[in-house]
Symmetry: C2
Subunit: 170 residues, 2 copies
Amino acid sequence: MAEGGHQGTPGSEGLLFLTDEQLRKGIEAMFFAYRGFTADPDRILEQHGYGRAHHRAIHFIHRSPGTTVNNLLSILGVTKQSLNRVLRTLIDDGLVESRVGKRDKRERHLFLTETGDALERELSDAQRERMRAAFRSVGPDAVVGFRQVLEAMMDPEMRRHFQTLKDSGQ
Amino acid sequence: MAEGGHQGTPGSEGLLFLTDEQLRKGIEAMFFAYRGFTADPDRILEQHGYGRAHHRAIHFIHRSPGTTVNNLLSILGVTKQSLNRVLRTLIDDGLVESRVGKRDKRERHLFLTETGDALERELSDAQRERMRAAFRSVGPDAVVGFRQVLEAMMDPEMRRHFQTLKDSGQ
DNA sequence: ATTATATGTCAGTCTTGTTGACTTTATCGG
DNA sequence: CCGATAAAGTCAACAAGACTGACATATAAT
């Protein structure tokens, strides 16, 4: 009778959380929640003439200052042509700086400028605020569960990126 | 000292789950997990020549058979021109049937055909399989937390749609 | 010296979203 | 019954953001 590692009501019924109906609710929860998740940044981005793609680039450059283009490509999972378009505008607009690598001069290391950092803060403040409110309203235990499920849903390579904090290098 | 309603370690520290760093992890978890969430259906859709927009329409018609176009519009949050494009192809391809309303003949009630249902099953089987594996690996308590956080992150109107099960009418 | 890597760019395509204008059909309120 | 409102559909134009394929340049590695 020893189950995986979690408890549940240890008696007979168990696994009621794995019914198709429960899974459907989980699927819809992801769909609707993701909309809320992006809603606030989307409004801000629109005012600045940017889109979600710019947000993603800004976010990960902020998280890992000095990251290379290739690194960013593998995190974002898009083509270099696609990334280059948004990176080009961010650099031209003075939000991102691209420095030639010292060890390997082929590489470009990406950094946010002061302006870029300001937009990053504006965006993440909004997004964090919503998440903070959600977290607070449900309590720390629910937050742990939230993170566990999300991590378990990721593709292995994305889980690697998620768990890896530092990866600059310069 | 009585806090909201959740416990945590009841001593002094509390609220460590609301730090900016924890929130950033939550944000990235959403980003990476959503990718995993859509990855399997995306592969299937590609084989059939459809996109995510078709999936969403199929999903919600399956969930609420007989739903009207307006209903679908408010759930999906897109313009009718945008929805009409995908609905048109689904109807032309014989996956969706559009029946004139009996009470109100202006309305069209949408249903999946057998073919449509088959594709729906193919898509949701794949998506459910991933979620089932995630749910199983973390246990029922984590799943409860997952759902609570997601629901708290939704916009109020989306939360309404999420909580509402039936809405056909015919 | 050749090959491989990192980056960037040009050109074209596709999906999915947007606005705005307009039509048809049907319901509803006076 | 008539005028206003509503539900659905359509046409046209446009934009963001993804894709492919081809090709260029600089640098590193063998």
